[in-house]
């Protein structure tokens, strides 16, 4: 059952409304389209927020409609081509999928609400920075913010004689070499799901090209064939795959990779803050693990965000913005802490009784004010698919690094 009773009532209401030839939206009614998360807490928390908002704003009605990921994407595409649709919709931040909807005009700029409600004062800067990615103003507010860093097995590091967390890329390479000498593969990845291996390429690009050039490569403003750092990054990928990644890895997915990690078959994983929950669910001893941001030297955190956008077709944008104001408020975010993600995008939220590894994450989120995002969120979808292919071909040894840059650039140049 993907629809709860509330949604069913809303669907029947919508049907009756359209049959009667009247618009869905009224002056006091907004609809929120979001995902049907496997995390039940997140779904229940959103329902409660909607109910509480209604109680705090007599006469206002908030209908939450949840769908599976693919159904949600399809519904948004249908909404983009029609007059009806949500007032607020969930999507990812970045120029990829989320950016497509913004580019298509489905999202309304929220600059005046950012000023009116002073959202920038309460939001974690790294999480809020995604709203500025789009031309034409600020779009959306953060729903969650997720950072990615290197998780490592303390015992494996100890066995390999690694006393300190690597602070530079060269130190990381040296650590990988020590692990290899101790018979422990440095990293585990699941190559079946392209985005897992892609993470290593993303962080190496940030390391080798630096922040500005990396961003321009992802925005396709620089040519991958002209920038030596791009080819150098592919060469590094090849080196890591040959020497330091637990093999074979191209036929396994991220879950199998995770199982190998907690089985102690590899020392590190490049994962998001959500892995703390996964480790807990799998009864792993959290004290055996710690994290450090991949040492890129650019002082930016690797991560991505999920956002709530106000639809440009909303009949009640003020009420929608008011709902977002309520959603991101200190009180609501404090009440729902840990339900949507490990941390809140609201920087005033207090965390108590957290395990050491989660405390480390909080420090990471406090430290970094800028973010570089995953390649599959940064590129348009067709380029993402090609980016996956060339990375996989490089790590599988099918094409040399220079050829990878060439093939990717040829594809980008050939886009109409």
């Amino acid at each position: 059952m993907t629809m709860n009773r509330t949604i069913l009532s809303a669907a029947i209401g919508a049907l009756l409304a359209s049959c009667a030839g009247i618009g869905l939206a009224s002056a006091q009614e907004i609809t929120v389209w979001t995902l049907n998360f496997s995390n039940k807490q997140a779904n229940e928390a959103m329902d409660k927020i909607a109910t509480d908002f209604q109680a705090a704003n007599p006469g206002a009605t908030v209908t939450v409609v949840r769908r599976g990921t693919d159904d949600h994407k399809t519904a948004l595409r249908v909404a983009a081509g029609s007059d009806k649709g949500p007032d607020i919709y969930f999507s990812w931040a970045g120029l990829g999928l989320g950016g497509e909807y913004v580019k298509a005009g489905l999202s309304a700029p929220l600059d005046k609400y950012y000023t009116e409600y002073k959202w920038s004062d309460r939001l974690v800067p790294a999480a809020a920075s995604f709203a500025d990615l789009y031309p034409g103003g600020k779009n959306g507010v953060p729903y969650t913010f997720k950072g990615e860093a290197v998780y490592y097995n303390k015992k494996a590091f100890e066995k390999a004689g690694i006393a300190e967390e690597p602070k530079t890329y060269d130190e990381l390479l040296a650590a990988a070499e020590k692990l290899k000498a101790a018979g422990i593969p440095a990293f585990t990845f699941g190559g079946k799901v392209n985005w897992h291996v892609m993470r290593l390429m993303d962080v190496i690009l940030e390391t080798k090209c630096g922040a500005e050039k990396h961003d321009k490569l992802m925005k396709m403003e620089l040519k991958w064939t002209d920038e030596a750092c791009a080819t150098e990054s592919f060469a590094e990928m090849e080196k890591w795959a040959k020497n330091y990644i637990l093999a074979p890895f191209m036929g396994i997915d991220q879950t199998q990779s995770f199982n190998l990690f907690i089985a102690g078959r590899a020392a590190m994983m490049l994962e998001g803050d959500w892995l703390v929950g996964t480790l807990t669910t799998n009864n792993a001893n959290l004290d055996d693990y710690a994290i450090f941001p991949f040492p890129t030297g650019t002082n930016r955190l690797y991560g991505f965000a999920e956002y709530l956008y106000v639809s440009s077709k909303s009949q009640n944008p003020d009420l929608a913005a008011k709902f977002l104001e309520y959603f991101t408020s200190d009180a609501v975010q404090q009440e729902t802490v840990g339900m949507f993600a490990t941390t809140s995008p609201n920087k005033n939220v207090k965390y108590e009784n957290l395990p050491a590894i989660s405390q480390e994450w909080l420090e990471v989120f406090k430290t970094y004010t800028e973010v570089y995002m995953n390649g599959d969120q940064a590129f348009p979808l067709d380029v993402t698919t090609e980016y996956f292919r060339v990375i996989n071909d490089v790590v599988a040894g099918n094409i040399p690094p220079a050829e990878a840059s060439k093939q990717l650039q040829t594809f980008i140049d050939g886009r109409s």
Partner: protein, 299 residues
Amino acid sequence: MQIKRSMEDARFQGWVLLGPAILIYGVFAMYPLFDVVVMSFQKWNGLDPNRVFVGLDNYRFIFTSDPVFWVAFKNTVIWTIMCLIFPPLVGLLLALGLNQNLFGRGVLRATYYLPVIIASIAVATMWRWMYDPFFGLFSQLMTNMGFGMSIPDWLGDRNVALYSVFIAHLWHSVGFSMVLFLAGLQGVSQTLIEAARIDGAGRWGVFRYVTLPALTSTITIVLVLSVINSLKAFDIVYGLTGGGPAQSTQMLALWAFTQAMQIFDYGRGGAISVVLLLITVSIVVPYLRWTQRHEEAAR
């Protein structure tokens, strides 16, 4: 009177009975088919209000610039050839074996047919775990037999992955061919078999000159269905490799889906679908006509 006479007319009654089916078929099969053909000449991402006519641009792209299309084309050809050989052959052998008077024959028939009723995605999940290079069944078996150092990356090596997926498909689909052949074998005249034996024919002779000719229609059906199913191969590949590694197990049907439903380039997805449709029609229709002529000549 005239109306009554018309209603009693068999042709009229035929059209009335066919009407709902034609309507449903038209709305849910023919119209989408036509729309996909139209879409293949358009540029549309599902977001823009208008579909822009781009002529042959989508076809030009997939034939000349798409780095994956020809890989998918080649894989589809290899897959189709394998589907034409192995499932019918193994299905026939199983059917011949299970047509004998064996103890537990019914149970064995059901057992071999069982995989057919399992959803492809469930089959893919099951085989993915069996192919796990670290903890999977095959890797454990090879390790136990002393071949631990030569375990291939079943789904991660581009030279092996397609064939690994095909083995899973063979396990999943062979029961269907077997059942068709079993049905065909029930129609082979026992009188002819007895006559052939009296004339001195051995087991091979009976099979070659009596059983096999009697199975011609069944073979035609099995081969045509194999071709059609192989050209639209999708779910098992999607579940096992997703088209990877590095798109090396990509198939035309899966690539059309990827273009349309994941990259949201409906025009290119449509163009690939049209190419796939033309290939299917160009193989199946001549083969059916040839078989029909052959059967008519034999009567």
